[in-house]
């Protein structure tokens, strides 16, 4: 009977219910959008923290600040400290050496394309898939193919030993109209720069800055830049255990660990203990895990989160008030019905239940519609702030429906007190 009444009465006063739903949709879509953006980043961060693999970036300890304008380095390789390429095998000699899945050295220089002197582009030298002599292991092959398995090449990978093969970044290839098989001559920066000629073996898609650069075997770039045996940075791919309480403690400060904790930390393949060991093994380098999201989007997200809290509270109050006045009118209008229920022997709570269920239902519908609208809105936010689409987190839906129901209920609660105050005697015997 209760559900029958709920169903029948729900379709009464449609205009007002539509209005109430709209109020909730508005606030729910705002909350959804902000929450979705925030959760998207939060999930990425959590995933990195919990993942079993991490990339570590290794740079010289006192690297001079590069003079980069528009992504092109105008102070290439000058006054810089470098890492010796010959030190790299030491990475495979640390305690957790078996957990180092691979590493790729990088040396970046700026070149001009012959016949196009105005155009300065980055030439990145690295290893593609090269055998590195490691003590006790004669078959260790590593390079960007291992470290960045998501790099995609249209065409074929160049060999590390052939000096003429080169990869062109997808964006650069679009700009210059390059395709696999094209020949290309580049000239080192400055008037004294040497010239080298290459064959484009493939077009590289990475989703990063490499897309607008040329990628060549390390040895060639070293020769071109006159930096034999030097590298600028190294990306290391390691198999790790997820961060937990101990590693978080260690991250704050190594000194906060007592000796037993230190041993346990050192002997667990946390990314932090691996970076620590790399720093121990190779002098004058800094190794840092790349929390890709944490660094970039994290700062923005903190602001978004604050905004979200403020908006949520504001939306809560605003739509709560809206619902409240709508509910008050509804109760006034249906006072005879309420009076009758009471006269028939309904307890106050039974009447409450009917009205609150109705508004909870409005909340559910509003919340669901709000999720839809908010999903679209979050894409706009994502595009304008991060320049990328935001994936929709399913958890937003239940949370938003819960919040919407909460808004609807708390908005209805105040006017519902009118039900208690309503005396059937006053409304039932009115002479029309």
């Amino acid at each position: 009977m209760f559900f029958l009444m709920l169903r029948q009465s729900f379709f009464r006063g449609r205009r007002r219910k539509a209005l109430a739903t709209l109020t909730i949709v508005l606030s729910a879509s705002l909350i959804t959008a902000l929450m979705n953006v925030s959760i998207d980043v939060g999930d990425k961060m959590a995933r990195e923290m919990k993942s079993y693999g991490a990339n570590i970036n290794m740079v010289p300890k006192s690297e001079a600040i590069p003079l980069e304008i528009g992504g092109v380095d105008y102070n290439p390789l000058k006054d810089r400290v470098f890492i010796n390429e010959s030190d790299l095998p030491k990475i495979k000699e640390i305690f957790w050496h078996n957990n180092i899945a691979g590493f790729a050295p990088f040396l970046k220089t700026t070149v001009e394309i012959a016949g196009n002197a105005k155009k300065r582009i980055n030439l990145i030298g690295t290893n593609f898939d090269r055998q590195i002599p490691i003590a006790g292991d004669d078959e260790f092959r590593t390079g960007v193919k291992v470290v960045f398995p998501y790099w995609q090449v249209k065409g074929e990978w160049p060999g590390d030993e052939e000096p003429a093969g080169i990869l062109a970044g997808a964006a650069l290839a679009r700009d210059l109209g390059l395709k696999p098989g094209d020949r290309l001559t580049v000239k080192g920066a400055g008037d004294t720069g040497r010239e080298e000629s290459f064959v484009v073996k493939g077009i590289l898609t990475t989703g990063g800055a490499e897309e607008s650069a040329l990628v060549a075997p390390l040895a060639v770039v070293q020769r071109l830049a006159g930096m034999e045996g030097k590298v600028q940075s190294v990306s290391v791919s390691a198999l790790t255990v997820p961060e937990d309480k101990l590693s978080r403690k260690a991250r704050q400060s190594n000194d906060s660990l007592d000796s037993m904790e230190y041993d346990r930390w050192y002997c667990t393949a946390y990314v932090s203990s691996i970076t620590h060991q790399i720093e121990e093994a190779i002098p004058n380098v800094t190794a840092r895990p790349i929390w890709q999201v944490a660094a970039g989007e994290g700062a923005v997200v903190n602001k978004i989160q604050l905004l979200m809290i403020v908006v949520t509270i504001a939306a809560f109050i605003a739509s709560g008030l809206g619902i409240s006045s709508l509910m008050a009118t509804t109760i006034m209008e249906r006072s005879r019905e309420i009076g009758l229920m009471k006269a028939l022997g309904a307890a106050d709570w039974e009447v409450y239940l009917l009205f609150l269920s109705e508004s909870a239902f409005v909340g559910v519908i509003g919340g669901l519609l709000g999720c839809l609208a908010g999903a679209g809105l979050s894409q706009i936010i994502g595009l304008s702030i991060f320049g990328s689409y935001v994936s929709f987190s399913p958890i937003v839906v239940p949370v938003n429906v819960a919040v919407s129901v909460l808004i609807a209920l708390s908005g209805s609660l105040m006017p519902s007190r009118l039900i208690t105050k309503l005396y059937p005697a006053e409304v039932l015997h009115g002479r029309r």
Partner: protein, 219 residues
């Protein structure tokens, strides 16, 4: 000698300095049909509110079916109301979005549990078996009032209290409703009816006349 189902002793209701009902002493026996009459503002409705426990008196005592009502909590008053009193209104007060049958079932629901068969029977009783699935807006005034009576009867109350049951009806419908009340009376139900229609009062066993909140005639 029928037993007394309703008894009031110096029943008084005051709103500030106004006293719509002043020291009413009345007894109603089982099976009696009592008409309460009087001009507007004589306290008829106030009296009915007090008798149907929708309102509580300022002074005096009201004993319904052997239960003193002065000490009851609100919850207990609600319970007494739904079990012992059937209400018939001038405005019918049917729930507009429920069918005739569902309106009757609503009374069952608040009383205990719904039983469709019982509700159908009650509607048959008032001659509406062919109109059970109609909404109140699709029913004529007389039919609505009959649904209202069926609803009042469904929980087999000790007393039926009607407030101007024919006040909003045309003559033909008035006749039908009146016949129903007569039938109820013949069955031995106790009826208290507030009216200012002397024709209706003629059929009552007893007419209580109120004036300025006092009983001026009881015969």
């Amino acid at each position: 000698m029928a037993k007394i189902v309703l008894e009031t002793k110096v029943l008084t209701k005051r709103y500030g300095s106004v006293t719509p009902l002043d020291s009413i002493d009345m007894q109603v026996k089982g099976g009696e049909w009592v008409a309460i009459m009087g001009p507007s503002g004589s306290g008829k409705t106030t009296m009915l509110n007090l008798l149907s426990l929708l309102d509580s008196p300022t002074e005096g005592e009201y004993i319904l079916d052997g239960v003193g009502t002065a000490t009851l909590t609100e919850k207990e008053r609600v319970a007494v109301r739904r079990e012992k009193i059937g209400l018939v209104f001038q405005q019918f007060h049917l729930v507009s979005y429920l069918t005739a049958l569902e309106n009757v079932m609503l009374a069952q629901y608040y009383h205990s549990m719904v039983d469709k068969g019982d509700a159908m029977e009650a509607l048959e009783r008032v001659g509406l078996e062919h109109r059970t699935d109609h909404l109140p807006s699709q029913l004529s005034g007389g039919e609505q009032q009959r649904v209202c009576i069926a609803r009042a009867l469904i929980n087999q109350p000790a007393i039926i209290m009607a407030d101007e049951p024919t006040g909003n009806l045309d003559e033909a419908n008035e006749e039908v409703v009146l016949e129903l009340f007569k039938e109820l009376h013949r069955e031995g139900r106790t009826i208290i009816m507030v009216t200012h229609n002397p024709e209706l009062a003629e059929f009552a066993d007893r007419v209580v006349r109120l004036h300025h909140g006092k009983v001026v005639k009881d015969a």
